[in-house]
């Protein structure tokens, strides 16, 4: 395995066009936008379904249905229909974000102890207060799990942007492939995987800091984690 591309300082010069830091930046840009849009769409829908119980069929099945959409096909279709640019890439990646966030929001809401919600109502909370001050914070651990897996998936998949002429770390893969330069492909794989791992650790830290300690088992350690639905 030839790692010369990865360790060549020339490829780490932030000022050079197409250098690894620049590609990293555009990669993060696509991923962050897709996560933002996806969450903005999926979170309210998931909260609504979880709160009201209406449309739960959609929420349960969205996960696997979304996963079954081939991102490359969707992307190429969008480019064919809409033309070049950032929009098709963002659509394809956003579609990837929605299912895990939607499903985990719903699952998080459903996993709540009904008696807690009843107690909140009994205390005279309005429905919106119940949702925002009880249900949402308590659903957060499961929701964050979904968000983290969405983030990982988007980071790995944002590489397809390069297949339709945009930037991102996929450039190292596509250009390496076109030039038959394995060292470059390897560099791409390593940087993407490292990015995913760092991001997952960061999101884990964020999760620890925003989830109420009463829920995480840091107060009372439970032996088994509940299996994912």
């Amino acid at each position: 395995m030839d790692s010369s591309y990865l360790f060549d300082p020339e490829h780490w010069d932030p000022g050079a066009a197409g250098s690894i830091p620049q590609l990293l930046l555009s990669h993060l840009g696509y991923s962050a936008l897709a996560l933002l849009f996806g969450t903005l769409i999926a979170l309210p829908v998931g909260l609504f379904i979880g709160h009201t119980g209406r449309g739960s069929f959609l929420a349960i099945n969205a996960g696997n249905a979304g996963r079954s959409l081939p991102t490359l096909g969707l992307l190429m279709l969008m480019v064919t229909l809409l033309g070049l640019g950032l929009t098709p890439v963002l659509i394809a990646l956003t579609v990837l974000v929605i299912p895990p966030v939607l499903t985990s929001t719903y699952a998080g809401m459903r996993s709540l102890d009904a008696s807690v919600v009843d107690a909140a109502r009994g205390m005279g909370m309005r429905p919106s207060q119940v949702l925002l001050r009880v249900e949402f914070p308590m659903a957060l651990p499961v929701l964050m799990g979904g968000f983290r897996s969405a983030a990982l998936q988007v980071i790995a998949t944002a590489t397809v942007a390069a297949a339709v002429g945009l930037g991102g770390l996929g450039r190292l893969l596509i250009d390496g492939l076109a030039l038959n330069d394995y060292s470059r492909v390897l560099a791409g794989a390593v940087v993407v995987a490292a990015l995913a791992i760092v991001l997952d650790l960061l999101l884990g830290l964020i999760q620890r800091s925003i989830v109420s300690p009463g829920l995480t088992g840091r107060a009372v350690r439970t032996r088994r984690a509940a299996p994912a639905p």
Binding site: T80, L177, A178
Partner: protein, 310 residues
């Protein structure tokens, strides 16, 4: 969940996983033989590059050989030359359509030798540099050249007729081509060496495909690498810049094949195809795919029956 487990345990897990994966790789080997991987001596695996013309030519070869009762396997749309030549050398494919000048450039360090530009010169020069175990059959008159192409507006704005006209304005222009152009002699290195051209920016797109055409039309790039047979040139009224220094050599189409697959039947069938191909008819049949969206197999079939080959 603590992450404080010993490094030893992580190592053990990695090793176990690696062993398991190596094991499963070995297990799937027999499938390789029964699968569609080629390698059986009787059939000919035909490859193509990742653009429609190459696929059309490969399909024409395939049908011409099938008409002779030979068994073929299609492995189209592999990628750029840098990749498919490796596939040819490792035996993944046996035959594919090539362009004599581009092939010569790719196989010669620092580009084609000086003074070589006519089709016959190129063909002659090729014989010395072909990868071991491969050969080329007779070349056709049909040519498809790499070009630098601009929109009519860009041509008017900067007064562009030839590639040399780009020199004074290149630092304001963005060029787009397949990623391989960054390092290929007939790409940026050759443009710099032969014409002294250095563009403001290089955008890696595709091999004269929809990305390049699209980016050219929407102004993302100013200069694009478009193939001379591409219908998009006519449809979009594009301007092909002349190449006075002959960076782009003769680009006649010819079959590149592994020698072990060459016999009289194969040679005759493919030479007949080469004899029938012209730049005009290639452009015309390619337009049926690019403009009329007919499928490749149908167009190849039409070509072979219209030219009386099958």
């Amino acid at each position: 969940m603590s992450r404080s487990h010993s490094a030893g345990a992580t190592f053990a897990a990695v090793t176990a996983l690696a062993l398991a994966l190596t094991g499963c790789g070995a297990d799937s080997d027999p499938l390789d033989d029964s699968g569609s991987d080629g390698g059986s001596s009787s059939s000919i695996a035909i490859g193509s590059a990742n653009f429609p013309e190459s696929e059309l030519l490969a399909e024409i070869y395939a049908q011409a050989l099938e008409a002779e009762g030979l068994e073929v396997e299609r492995s189209f749309n592999i990628g750029a030359r840098e990749l498919y030549l490796q596939a040819l050398q490792d035996g993944s494919i046996d035959l594919l359509p090539e362009y004599n000048g581009a092939l010569l450039s790719a196989l010669t360090e620092g580009g084609a030798p000086e003074g070589v530009s006519s089709p016959d010169d190129v063909y002659e020069a090729l014989q010395d540099v072909l990868p071991e175990g491969t050969e080329v059959l007779e070349q056709s008159d049909a040519e498809d050249k790499d070009t630098l192409t601009v929109t009519q507006e860009t041509a008017d704005e900067y007064g562009l007729e030839t590639i040399a006209d780009l020199v004074p304005v290149a630092d304001q222009l963005v060029i787009g081509a397949g990623p391989e152009w960054a390092e290929r002699y007939q790409g940026l290195p050759g443009l710099k060496e032969v014409y002294g051209l250095e563009f403001k920016e290089f955008r890696p797109l595709d091999a004269g495909g929809p990305l390049t055409i699209g980016a050219l039309l929407d102004g993302t790039i100013d200069v694009g690498n478009v193939f001379s047979t591409d219908s998009a040139i006519k449809v979009n009224d594009l301007v092909v810049l002349e190449d006075p220094e002959e960076l782009y050599l003769a680009e006649n189409i010819l079959p590149l094949i592994r020698s072990e697959k060459v016999d009289e039947t194969v040679t005759e069938a493919l030479n007949a195809v080469s004899a029938a191909l012209t730049t005009e008819n290639l452009t015309e049949y390619l337009a049926r795919i690019q403009v009329d969206k007919e499928d490749t197999a149908t167009v190849a079939e039409a070509f072979l029956s219209d030219t009386g080959l099958v």
